[in-house]
Every structure is written in structure tokens, then in C-alpha cells.
């Protein structure tokens, strides 16, 4: 605390708001659409979560649908579901593997691109690696399925080296590998953009100073580049951990088949089948599972954030 002259009176909260408003009036006006958007599309729908505790029937609406007795019935059903353990296990495994192998990949790509001198080559590589991201998931997954068929590309290569032809997606032991590798292929280019942006903001004089001190390229990378983009890495990592149970259903749904449910069935595909797999959609049950999903995600987000703020100065809040 700095000592104030005796005549200084600390402005009240109201005064501060008023002063701030006078100063930044137009900035606040600018932000109104964003606030309206958040309120309408992110906060208002949260009211619908109440159906996780109700026996929701479309014709009765949210208001008139009866409360569950006991109120946690749908959660109890999920926790005692014969597939509960497997769903959580598969979701975590796929998510963690994606983080372990998929998270560093774009960072490495960005570092490698950063070292390239030829601008033309750099742009070409960037364009090629972005491309899969812009192809529809349905198309990329159809490609993967065709490659994995018993008369597909992978079988052709395997046969060349004396392996057997088989449908690779029919085997529980290959599914995760196929999933992770294709995931990296799809996202590596796109995800590297933010790191490239971070890299460009590193002060070039630091490199000059390091070179004068006799640091080679690798040492420059280790001591200047990586620390330079570390805040970006950490923030993205925390956000990624906050989505640990959010493994999208689209890709799994397009790749899996009933023979490999044991490794591929995840929470989101399970709820998808609850809603669209024939029969009456179970809105309340699916909502309860979704709510549980979100709670786990929040715990991981806060946990990672807490951990990060302890070991480094970087954190979300």
C-alpha cells in the first residue's frame, strides 16, 4: 500500500464505476452484443438442466414434468449402469492418449516450422498440414474406414511385408492407435497456428544476444523459444484439461462398430444411442449424464489451474 496524502479520499465503488464508464463508454457499448450472446445462448439454456432431476416428457414441458423421486434417480441409474465403468475408462483413456500424443504434436510442428528459412517451403508445409482440418469429419472418417478395410491401403502395406489382410477397425488392439494417429493428422496444422503466432511475438534481440553468447540453434530453442511460448502452452493445456471428458461423438460414431465397443464406446456415443438409437429418446437421462460430464470437466479445469498457478506463474484466474 502506498501512503496517500491526507487530503485523498479513496473513491467509493460507485464512483469508480461511474468514472470508468465515462472513460470507456464506447468500449462497453461494443461489448454488449457479446454479453447478450452469452446470456441468451450460454446462460439461459442452463435452466434446461433442471430436467436432469425430472421425468421430462416433451408434451408436459419443463415446468409440468414431474420431479424424480428420489431426485438423483437418473444419476443413480448412470452410476449403477453395467457400462458405467467401461464408458468412463474409455473416455479417459482416449482423452488422455489424445492429450499425451496430440497436445505436443502441434508445438513440435510450430518449432520445426519456425526453424525453416525458406518462406515458400514453410507456407507449403503449413497449407498441407492445415488441409485435413477443413475436410468434413464424415469424409475423413470414410477415408479412414476405407484405408482400414481388409482390401484397403493398410492391408496392402501389411501384405507387402508378409502380414495378413484384415479389417483393422474390427480389432480392439488397433482402434486407439488408429484414432490417435488420425486425430493428430486432422488437427496438427490447425492447432499449430496459435503457437506460430506466439513464436512471432518473441523479441528477436534475445536471439541476437544468445548468438553473441555462443548459443547454438538447439540451445536458442531450449532457452528462448520454448520459455517464450510457455504461457501460451500452459493456458491451452489448462483449457484442454477442462474438456477431458468431452470426446466428441462424431468421430467415434463414424469409426466404431459393435465388435470394438469394449475400447471405443464412450460417454457421448452412449448418450447418442440413448437418444437416437431407436425407441423414445431419454432426454432426462441424457441430460443427467451431460451434467455429470460437465462437473468432472470443471473439476479437472480447476485442478489443473490450481496446480499450474502453484508451479508456474501462469493460470487462467
Amino acid at each position: 500500500m502506498t501512503a496517500h496524502p491526507p487530503t485523498y479520499r479513496h473513491p467509493s465503488f460507485g464512483q469508480r464505476i461511474l468514472r470508468d464508464w465515462k472513460l470507456n463508454k464506447w468500449k462497453y457499448v461494443l461489448i454488449i452484443p457479446v454479453l447478450v450472446y452469452l446470456a441468451l445462448f450460454c446462460y439461459k439454456p442452463m435452466y434446461g438442466l433442471v430436467i436432469a432431476f425430472k421425468n421430462y416428457k416433451p408434451t408436459r414441458g419443463i415446468e409440468r414434468s414431474a420431479w424424480m423421486d428420489p431426485w438423483y434417480s437418473w444419476f443413480e441409474k448412470f452410476f449403477t449402469d453395467p457400462y458405467f465403468g467401461r464408458l468412463i475408462g474409455n473416455t479417459f483413456t482416449i482423452s488422455l492418449l489424445t492429450i499425451v500424443f496430440g497436445f505436443p504434436a502441434p508445438i513440435l510442428l510450430a518449432l520445426l516450422l519456425n526453424e525453416i528459412k525458406s518462406n515458400k517451403f514453410k507456407r507449403t508445409v503449413q497449407t498441407i498440414t492445415y488441409m485435413p482440418y477443413f475436410i468434413s469429419m464424415v469424409v475423413t472418417c470414410a477415408l479412414i474406414r476405407v484405408y482400414c478395410q481388409q482390401d484397403g491401403l493398410i492391408s496392402d502395406v501389411a501384405a507387402l511385408f508378409g502380414g495378413t489382410r484384415q479389417n483393422w477397425l474390427m480389432s480392439s488392439s488397433y482402434y486407439r492407435t488408429i484414432y490417435i494417429i488420425s486425430e493428430i493428422w486432422q488437427t496438427i496444422g490447425w492447432n499449430s497456428i496459435i503457437y506460430l503466432a506466439a513464436l512471432s511475438s518473441i523479441d528477436q534481440e534475445q536471439y541476437e544476444a544468445a548468438r553473441i553468447d555462443g548459443a547454438n540453434r538447439f540451445q536458442q530453442c531450449l532457452h528462448i523459444t520454448i520459455p517464450g511460448i510457455m504461457p501460451t502452452i500452459i493456458i491451452l493445456f489448462i483449457l484442454r484439461m477442462g474438456a477431458i471428458l468431452n470426446v466428441g461423438y462424431e468421430k467415434t460414431l463414424l469409426l466404431y462398430n459393435s465388435n470394438i465397443y469394449d475400447v471405443s464406446d464412450i460417454i457421448s456415443t452412449y448418450t447418442y444411442r440413448l437418444s437416437f438409437g431407436g425407441g423414445t429418446p431419454q432426454y432426462s437421462y441424457s441430460t443427467a449424464i451431460g451434467l455429470f460430464n460437465t462437473l468432472v470437466n470443471v473439476v479437472f479445469l480447476l485442478g489443473t489451474n490450481f496446480f499450474s498457478s502453484r508451479v508456474s506463474e501462469n493460470s487462467l484466474f
Binding site: T59, K77, Q166, N167, R273, G279
Partner: protein
């Protein structure tokens, strides 16, 4: 007792197959046009969308002509293009106060609740007076009447019926390459051993396999009947359940089902079944059938038609569902010729409006209305041929758009009407019709029409074992089923084990594996679900 029951059942089904001709329906007389100044709102979840070439229904001859014939203004609505129909309907239902007066969707499951909550009209007291043709039609067959009311006898819906009584419900089945059959000097297979032999010979000679889109087609169709099993492995809908002697059963736990799995596992282990079958859909199977990688498959009459069109020849033909070697078959893909979708009148219509709606809906079940819903207006889109059977005029026959008849008729895909068998003959190619004949007339087509016993046998095998259309659960039962996991977990469990048994990752020949599989059903509440279903069936039977 059993014999009497079987006889009674066969009789019902027999009636279903033979009654529906326009002449048997009540004439509309001078009841129409109704000359009302009301405007009725009418929603159809699917099957009645205006033809794709029209901007909206105001350009569609069927929709505008219907209003003219009825003498009532109709304001049509449909799900937005690209939206999932069921979700769209459910979203609408969330606001019962502003529903359209007439709605077509899937309401049978929730009929009791919708009546209790006064979302839809109970038509019992009005149906005979204001919908006499429909009521008369329902009385022609006890199965129709039962399907269209609740357990306590309340009428609430207008249904969809096929004149053929089930022929087109067997639209899926085994298909083979007839050019290869000829080259190998083989007959079209009828028994399971013959089918196996054809697959083997095709494999040895052409390197082809038995390939099929499992989830999209094979799992619903199944060939379990050759092994004496009932119901298919597709539990997500009602295909997985069967009814035998008044008892509900679950298909995938029968000992006969295990024999079926053993056969599939043997075929898979010998490399006779294409491994890709489990991940194929209607599109990817075409690459196999067109390049000679498949010689035997399972698909629909429509897909078969597409395969042949794209290959430029009638290479693929339909075969009978395989029987056991002694010619017996327990069950096969089929139905009763009753749709699961219904049309209801909502409470947004006041009593007078409801009476008007009843009369509007009744039209489809009169002689005149039957012809209009199936063919459009006489002299415009159709005329009688020399045998007195309706045929298209040049207006439809020379129109190259997809399914041009849907511009003029409403029965092509099914709605609150009776679909004429002749319409299906007019719509489909000869090879597709021949395939449907092969799928349905398991014991021969000529025999079917010549011998009532064969007819009864055919109907028992195609639809007789099925979970009846129109069974309603009470609101309480639906809630219990939801909490017990219903069909969803059972479907996951069966689908997964079905694949494991066939691919050999679980050894179906090992008794311990089979026992463990059966024990797994305990945690899925199979017994409790069966008990609830039995209760619903009993109530249905005693309607």
C-alpha cells in the same frame, strides 16, 4: 388349445392379406366436399413432404387437390428440411397449446399419456358417426382394430395399412448374383446348406465373400429362421422380441439363436464372410458388389434395384429366406402391413373442428379417397388400363424426376391411408418386385395363392411371430422401462456379443462362454423388462 390359437391367428392374418380392395371400402357418397369455411392446420412428420421439385406445398397437386376434394382449407406444415423428424415433432409437442389440428407422427408409445394430459382427442364417441368408412375398415380385421385403440378401448388415431397385408414389409432379404449361379450351374439357394454351398463355390471360383452392411441391413433381416430361432439381433427397435403362444420372448437368448451364431462363426472363421461387413453401409457395400468381391449379400429391394442399375444389368436377384434343410423356417423379416406411425387430432381443435377433422381423415378410407390417396385424380395422373387396373398417364409415366407419383399421391411412403399393392407394382422395377416376391413368398408364390395352408404358414413366418404393432405401455410402465435401461442397453449388449461370437473373439462353441453371456442379461434387467412387456401384450390380446 394351441392349435385353436394358431388357427385363430392364421385366420386374422389371412383376413389381413385378402380384404383390402377399393370395392370393399365404403363409398364416399355425397359426403364430400364438406364446404367448410374453417382452415385446418395439418402436420406430417414424414412421408408427405411436397416433391423436391416444388418450392412448397402450395405448388403440390396432391396437397392442393386434397383441400379441394374435401372442401376445407388446409394449412400444411412439415419438419424443416434437414431436421430430424422425431426431434422436430418432440419440440413442437413441448407447446401443446399451439399444435396443428392434425398431426402425423409416432404416437403409439405415448398414447395413454397424451390422452390423460388432454393433448389429443379421444375419438371413441365420435368415430362411428364422423368416420364411418374408417371405422368399417377397422372392423374388417381384428388386428387393425386392436392396433388403433388403447387397452381400455379408446380410439385415438388413424393408421397406415398396406393392402397386401405384409408383402412389402418383407422388403429385405438374401440377394445373389444370378450370372455366377448360371456359370457355376447352381440353383437359387433355398436352404441354409444350399446357401452355404453357393457362398463356398463363389469364394473358390471368384474369390468373393458373403458381404453385407451389418448394422444397416443384415442385423434387422437376419437368417435365424433356418435354425429355428425367432426375432433378430436388432433390439433397438421391436425386432428383437417375439411372441409365441401368447408368451413374449427375447430373441438373442434362445438355444436356437446359439446355433445361428455357431454357423455365422464357422463361416467367418473360414474367411467366407467379409470382415468389412460390420462397418459397411449401403454406399460402401456397392463397391464390393460392383467389383465382384461379393457374390451373396443381404439388402433391400430398393438397393438391389440401384445395384443393378449401376451395373447396367439384372445381375443381382432376390432369393428366399433360407430354411433349414428339412424345409422348415421359424421366422423371417416381415410384418403385418400396419404402420407404426399414426395421425391424431390434437386438442387445439375444438369439438366442432375435431368433427370436421374426423371427416377429412375418413376420406382416405372411402372407395374414392383410396384411389385419390394412391393415384391422384383420375384422368389427370392415372386412368384404368384394359383390365380395369389403375395405371399412370403420360403425366407421371413420362416424368423423369425422382418418384414423380409423389407429386400427385399421398400413399407412396405411407400416411393415414391404405396403400394399394398396385401402387407398389407401378412404382418399382420388375426385378425389385421379383425380389420382394422371393423375400415374402418363402413357400412359393403360386402355392401361396392356391393353398390357404401355405398362405397361413407364410403369414405366420413373416409377421406372426412379431411384437404386434399398436401395443401401448401405460405411462407408469414407460417410466419403469426408462429406468430399467429399456432397449438401449440390451441392444448394446447383444450387438457387441453378436459381433464377438461371429468374429470369434468369444468362442460360441464354449458352453461356459454362452452361460456367461446369458448371465450378463441379469444386470440388464431382462427378466423385469420381459414381465412388463408380457403385461402389455396380455392387455393387447384381450382388447
Amino acid at each position: 388349445m394351441k392349435k385353436i390359437l394358431a388357427l385363430a391367428l392364421s385366420l386374422c392374418l389371412l383376413l389381413a392379406a385378402t380384404t383390402a380392395f377399393a370395392a370393399d371400402l365404403l363409398p364416399a357418397g355425397d359426403r364430400y366436399p364438406l364446404n367448410s369455411d374453417k382452415t385446418i392446420t395439418w402436420y406430417s412428420q414424414d412421408c408427405l413432404n411436397p416433391h423436391e421439385k416444388f418450392a412448397d406445398w402450395t405448388e403440390s397437386p396432391f396437397h392442393t387437390n386434397l383441400a379441394k376434394l374435401l372442401g376445407v382449407d388446409i394449412q400444411w406444415s412439415f419438419p424443416t428440411t434437414g431436421a430430424d423428424g422425431s426431434s422436430f415433432t418432440n419440440t413442437m409437442m413441448a407447446d401443446p397449446g399451439s399444435l396443428p389440428n392434425i398431426m402425423k407422427g409416432y404416437f403409439m408409445d405415448q398414447a395413454n399419456m397424451l390422452l390423460e394430459d388432454e393433448v389429443i382427442w379421444d375419438l371413441t364417441d365420435y368415430i362411428q358417426e364422423y368416420a364411418p368408412a374408417y371405422y368399417a375398415w377397422l372392423q374388417t380385421n381384428p388386428a387393425y382394430d386392436r392396433a388403433m385403440k388403447t387397452d381400455d378401448g379408446r380410439y385415438y388415431a388413424f393408421g397406415f395399412f398396406r393392402e397386401d397385408g405384409g408383402w412389402n414389409d418383407s422388403y429385405l432379404g438374401v440377394v445373389v448374383r444370378q450370372d455366377w449361379l448360371k456359370e457355376c450351374d447352381l440353383e437359387v439357394p433355398t436352404t441354409i446348406s444350399e446357401l452355404e454351398n453357393v457362398i463356398r463355390v463363389f469364394h473358390d471360383k471368384y474369390g468373393a465373400q458373403f458381404a453385407f452392411p451389418n448394422d444397416a441391413r443384415f442385423r434387422q433381416a437376419g437368417i435365424q429362421g433356418a435354425f429355428g430361432a425367432y426375432a433378430t439381433g436388432y433390439v433397438a427397435s421391436d425386432y428383437g422380441w417375439y411372441v409365441k403362444d401368447g408368451k413374449v420372448g427375447f430373441g438373442a437368448t434362445q438355444p436356437e439363436w446359439r446355433e445361428y451364431m455357431k454357423w455365422m462363426a464357422k463361416m467367418y472363421a473360414e474367411g467366407l464372410i467379409d470382415q468389412d461387413s460390420f462397418s459397411m453401409d449401403d454406399t460402401s457395400i456397392k463397391a464390393k458388389t460392383e467389383t465382384g468381391k461379393a457374390g451373396v449379400s443381404v439388402t433391400s429391394m430398393g438397393q438391389l434395384n440401384i445395384w443393378n442399375k449401376e451395373m447396367g444389368s439384372d445381375t443381382w436377384i432376390g432369393a428366399h429366406f433360407p430354411t433349414a434343410d428339412d424345409g422348415s423356417i421359424s421366422s423371417q423379416f416381415g410384418g403385418f402391413g400396419i404402420g407404426t406411425h399414426t395421425t391424431v387430432i390434437t386438442k387445439t381443435a375444438d369439438e366442432e373442428t375435431m368433427k370436421l377433422c374426423l371427416q377429412m381423415l375418413d376420406y382416405a378410407y372411402t372407395q374414392e379417397g383410396f384411389l385419390f390417396w394412391n393415384y391422384g385424380i383420375e384422368g389427370e395422373s392415372w386412368e384404368y388400363d384394359e383390365n380395369g387396373v389403375p395405371k399412370w398417364t403420360a403425366l407421371v409415366a413420362e416424368d423423369n424426376d425422382n418418384d414423380p407419383m409423389t407429386k400427385y399421391n399421398g400413399a407412396t411412403w405411407g400416411n393415414s391411408c391404405i396403400q394399394a399393392t398396385n401402387l407398389l407394382y407401378l412404382k418399382n422395377s420388375p426385378v425389385a418386385i421379383a425380389a420382394n416376391d422371393a423375400f415374402f413368398y418363402t413357400f412359393g408364390k403360386d402355392e401361396y395363392f392356391a393353398d390357404p395352408e401355405v398362405e397361413a404358414k407364410t403369414l405366420a413366418v413373416t409377421g406372426g411371430w412379431k411384437w404386434p404393432v399398436g401395443i401401448t405401455f401405460t405411462t407408469d410402465e414407460s417410466d419403469q422401462l426408462d429406468l430399467l435401461g429399456g432397449n438401449s442397453n440390451l441392444n448394446t449388449y447383444v450387438a457387441e456379443n453378436y459381433a464377438s461370437f461371429i468374429t470369434g473373439s468369444k468362442d460360441i462353441n464354449d458352453d461356459a462362454v454362452w452361460e456367461a453371456y446369458l448371465a450378463g442379461f441379469d444386470s440388464l434387467n431382462l427378466e423385469k423388462i420381459l414381465a412388463i412387456r408380457q403385461g402389455a401384450l396380455d392387455r393387447y390380446e384381450s382388447r
